[in-house]
């Protein structure tokens, strides 16, 4: 089959310039031929059976999730905030699962931290819902007039402005995962994290911490063990509600198929290890249970900070 596609592109520049595409075309075609039909297609007109292929996956594809939150053992109030939304509209041939998951970790004295995180989450969630969610599910199925990345970008800026208005002096991290179909888009400011977890147990941090200590570590100025205990490990060089306007990190990532997406505040990742996280996901009975176990584990390890976790299961 791969040979067929090679011929198809005539071994020309196309093959060399877009290797990813050829590769995926090749493998996809191979899968299809193993599963469904082996007879070559020869005649016109095209019959409908020929081109409609079934997929061996649960249908319709959907994002299930669990979440959990705790003050931790050493704080008397919660400055973290979370938002989650997963929807599915399955009808005729349109079937685009939608997921919006947000974690914010507020900072700053008085009540400003908790106000900032809550304001930021509301601003971001309502912005995405207004700009994308509502048009997507409207009867005339409008397409949004901004790109998905622009929607996230503007959501971050709106959240920044709202904090300046409603929680002046406060700051917050804001990590948003927007999943539309098979596209995962993440906007990120601060040191909350998004992880991709693959079916084989690999776990990767998708986001880059905007923390001074992380930066010093990247520069080789301090070691990772020094970073873990550094007195300034909570100092961020980028946070919402603080500093000048900036560009948030906004990027698109391939969704880990048949795996998990984890969003959490530093109350989780700064306290328990990636191995602990994987072990808990593996041994738990469901997503909700996994989230509670992660929070438990962080509290058992001292619970120095507020803990927030969202765990999303991604379809095949």
């Amino acid at each position: 089959m791969k040979g067929f596609f090679k011929k198809l592109f005539g071994g020309t520049s196309a093959e060399k310039t877009i290797p990813t595409e050829i590769e995926s075309l090749g493998t996809k075609a191979k899968k299809a031929s193993e599963g469904v039909e082996t007879e070559p297609i020869v005649t016109a007109p095209l019959s409908s059976e020929v081109f409609v292929r079934t997929e061996n996956a649960y249908y319709p594809p959907q994002f299930t999730f669990g979440c959990a939150q705790s003050n931790g053992k050493q704080r008397d109030h919660n400055e973290d905030a979370l938002f989650s939304l997963s929807t599915i509209l399955a009808s005729d041939n349109t079937n685009i699962p939608f997921g919006l998951f947000i974690v914010a970790d507020g900072m700053g004295g008085h009540q400003h931290g908790e106000v900032a995180s809550s304001v930021a989450i509301r601003a971001m969630a309502s912005h995405v819902i207004r700009k994308l969610f509502v048009p997507m599910y409207s009867t005339n199925r409008e397409t949004p007039d901004e790109s998905l990345q622009e929607i996230l970008q503007n959501g971050v800026l709106e959240a920044h402005q709202d904090i300046l208005k409603e929680a002046a002096g406060g700051g917050t991290t804001l990590t948003t995962a927007l999943i539309v179909g098979s596209q995962l888009m993440i906007s990120h400011v601060g040191d909350s994290r998004a992880y991709a977890i693959y079916p084989d147990g690999r776990i990767h941090v998708i986001t880059r911490d905007h923390s001074l200590v992380k930066r010093l570590e990247e520069l080789g100025q301090i070691t990772s063990s020094e970073a873990a205990t550094h007195p300034q490990r909570n100092v961020l060089y980028r946070a919402l509600g603080q500093g000048e306007p900036f560009e948030p990190d906004v990027s698109t990532y391939p969704l880990p198929h048949n795996g998990h997406l984890l969003l959490c505040s530093d109350g989780l990742w700064g306290v328990i290890s990636e191995n602990d996280i994987i072990e808990i996901i593996r041994s738990s009975t469901n997503l909700q249970d996994a989230c509670h176990q992660m929070v438990e584990a962080a509290n058992k390890a001292g619970g120095p900070d507020n803990i927030t976790v969202i765990l999303v299961r991604t379809p095949e």
Binding site: L8, K16, T20, L46, I96, Q149, L212, Q221, T252
Partner: protein, 592 residues
């Protein structure tokens, strides 16, 4: 928090005396705390009022009313450097930046020498530097404003991007100002805003890498100023001034030619040794605007002289030609010994590769400028008749055609049993393989270039001067990238880099996940063809008549090869050769 007002001083009723009134609002509710803040403010205002320096605005008065404190100071006519930077289209000239920096060193030296205590500016950055109408610098926004920003659990200290590492620990010395001055100069010379980058990452963006016009000497001085460790920096603002003076050209010397050119300078020797070597050229009877294809050692190329040519790829030796009744502007496709291509004679032609003899032709109702896609034993091709056609590759009989409302000149692409292509009305279609519309996206103007696909994302450019990334399932726009002008070029992708051309003369390199520009390269005329990547080089033609070879990671020019006419089509890379046509009627083969 606060604002700056332009005000008129009514102590002088008969003349218009402008002053700036800076308002600072205290956010602290505790009265004792606020009292301390106001006292700090007044103390600093008093210090400022005693400073006499041409680059420091004069202080006329200050007062406090309720939770607001005001500072009345000299009104400066001019613009801050941040505004100047965003208004200027290109790089500032080195001499200009050095002149500003010299004045900044002067004023920093003055502040650092202040007795009994040195004054640390703490916030050197383009938006705090005004250039007045006489082209002199003025430092505005002294740290005084910051007494009102009480430390919030040390979340953020200093301005992101320009501040040195020690300022994040709450330490500030005269050397912190030296670092921030270096960071500011780096920004002015490279146009890369450090607030958008990770802190202390200047050495990841060497100045001359971004702006080759800057002298090695100046780059060295700035690099010393932005050392991570204060002990390794230029020891003082005055030492910095001395070092800068030494980089400046001797008075009366003519400006270096490199300062006025925008193009990266290429050493003559490099150009000579690395240029693409002409293997052969072949002359047709009219322009070549299409793209050649190489298969089993044979090169196929269509020409405006109505012929499709088969040439030996190694030698350029003529093998056969096949005549149509119209110009051939597209790229042929080859499958199982047959060559398929469209012609402006309205037909899709199927030719036997070995002999050049006709197998079949298929009529559409308009000239064909789209290139064929072969999949599932069918040829998919667009036509100016406004239809997408699916033709059986064996028989040449139509399976279906779908009305898409306007000419299709892009090449369709197939993925997961769906067909994707753009039209001249700006519609981008997703059809299933029975010709039913699955979704449709509307660009503002024509989509003439073709799309490529990776990881379920479609990438293509449009005549509306936008480069789009679309989700393959929904047709939603994931991101948009603004090009200078229209694009009809088909992008190519390597690793995370997307490459495309536009008629603003530029070849762009864009990061595919974040839509950030990695580099751009300007040719002398429109880039209508498509780039191709072979090994670590990018090859792309331009209407200026040159085929360019660039290092694809950096966009640096390796060499360029001159033809006698505009190059509008795309090159093809095959083994160690690059093949392309030019409107000078010739097919070129360069060995690389």
């Amino acid at each position: 928090m606060g604002a700056v007002y332009r005000a008129r001083d009514l102590h002088f009723p008969n003349v218009v005396k402008r002053v700036a009134v800076k308002e600072m609002i205290s956010q602290v509710r505790d009265p004792a705390m606020r009292e301390t803040l106001v006292r700090n403010f007044e103390r600093e205002a008093n210090i400022l009022a005693t400073l006499e320096h041409p680059s420091i605005p004069r202080i006329y008065d200050y007062f406090t009313q309720n939770e607001r404190s005001y500072l009345i100071e000299e009104f400066i006519e001019g613009k801050d450097l941040e505004a100047l930077l965003s208004e200027s289209p290109g790089f500032f000239l080195e001499a200009q930046v050095v002149q500003w920096a010299l004045e900044l060193c002067d004023v920093l030296g003055f502040l650092h020498d202040h007795k009994p205590e040195p004054i640390i500016f703490r916030d050197m950055k383009p938006s705090n530097i005004m250039i007045n109408n006489y082209d002199h610098v003025m430092l505005i926004d002294f740290g005084i404003a910051k007494t009102f920003q009480t430390g919030q659990k040390g979340t953020m200290i200093g301005t992101e991007g320009y501040s040195p590492p020690e300022q994040y620990k709450g330490e500030a010395s005269p050397l912190s100002d030296v670092f921030a001055l270096g960071a500011t100069m780096h920004h002015l010379l490279t146009r890369r805003d450090p607030r958008l980058e990770a802190p202390f990452s200047f050495n990841e963006r060497p100045i001359r890498h971004i702006n080759p016009n800057v002298s090695i000497e100046l780059e060295a001085v700035i690099n010393t100023a932005i050392q991570y460790n204060p002990a390794n920096r230029v020891p003082s603002a005055l030492a910095m001034k001395e070092a800068l003076v030494n980089t400046a050209q001797p008075p009366g010397a003519p400006p270096q030619p490199s300062q006025v050119t925008d193009m990266p300078k290429i050493k003559e020797a490099d150009t000579a040794s690395e240029t693409g070597k002409l293997a052969w050229k072949f002359e047709c009877e009219d322009e070549i605007r299409g793209t050649p294809v190489c298969n089993n050692g044979i090169l196929f190329v269509g020409s405006y002289d109505y012929n499709l040519y088969a040439l030996e790829a190694a030698s350029g030796q003529f093998m056969w030609k096949y005549a149509t009744d119209g110009g051939i502007v597209s790229r042929p496709s080859i499958h199982e010994g047959t060559i398929y291509f469209g012609s402006e004679d309205r037909r899709l032609h199927a030719i036997i590769q070995r002999s050049g003899k006709l197998s079949w032709t298929y009529y559409t109702d308009g000239p064909i400028r789209s290139s064929p896609l072969i999949a599932e034993n069918h040829i998919f091709i667009g036509s100016d008749d406004g239809f997408m056609h699916a033709v059986n590759s064996m028989t040449g009989r139509r399976s279906w055609k779908t009305d898409v409302g306007s000419p299709v000149r892009s090449t369709p692409i197939i993925f997961n049993d769906f067909l994707f292509f753009g039209t001249e009305a700006g519609d981008f279609y997703c059809l299933d393989l029975r010709g039913q519309v699955k979704w449709r996206f509307k660009a503002k103007r024509a989509v003439t270039g073709s799309a490529i696909i990776t990881q379920d994302i479609l990438f293509f450019g449009s005549v509306d001067a936008t480069f789009y990334a679309l989700d393959i399932k929904s047709g939603f726009v994931i991101w948009r990238f603004r090009l200078g002008k229209a694009s009809i070029s088909t992008p190519c992708l390597v690793e995370n880099f997307l490459f495309t051309g536009a008629i603003d003369n530029v070849i762009y390199c864009i990061e595919k996940n974040s839509a950030k520009e990695v580099w751009r390269f300007s040719t002398e005329h429109q880039v209508t063809g498509s780039p191709v990547i072979q090994k670590d080089s990018l090859y792309c033609g331009s209407v200026d008549g040159y085929l360019y070879c660039l290092e694809y990671r950096t966009g640096r020019l390796r060499w360029k090869f001159k033809t006698e006419g505009p190059i509008t089509g795309s090159p093809t890379a095959c083994d160690d050769n690059i093949f392309f046509g030019s409107t000078d009627h010739r097919v070129y083969a360069l060995s690389i």
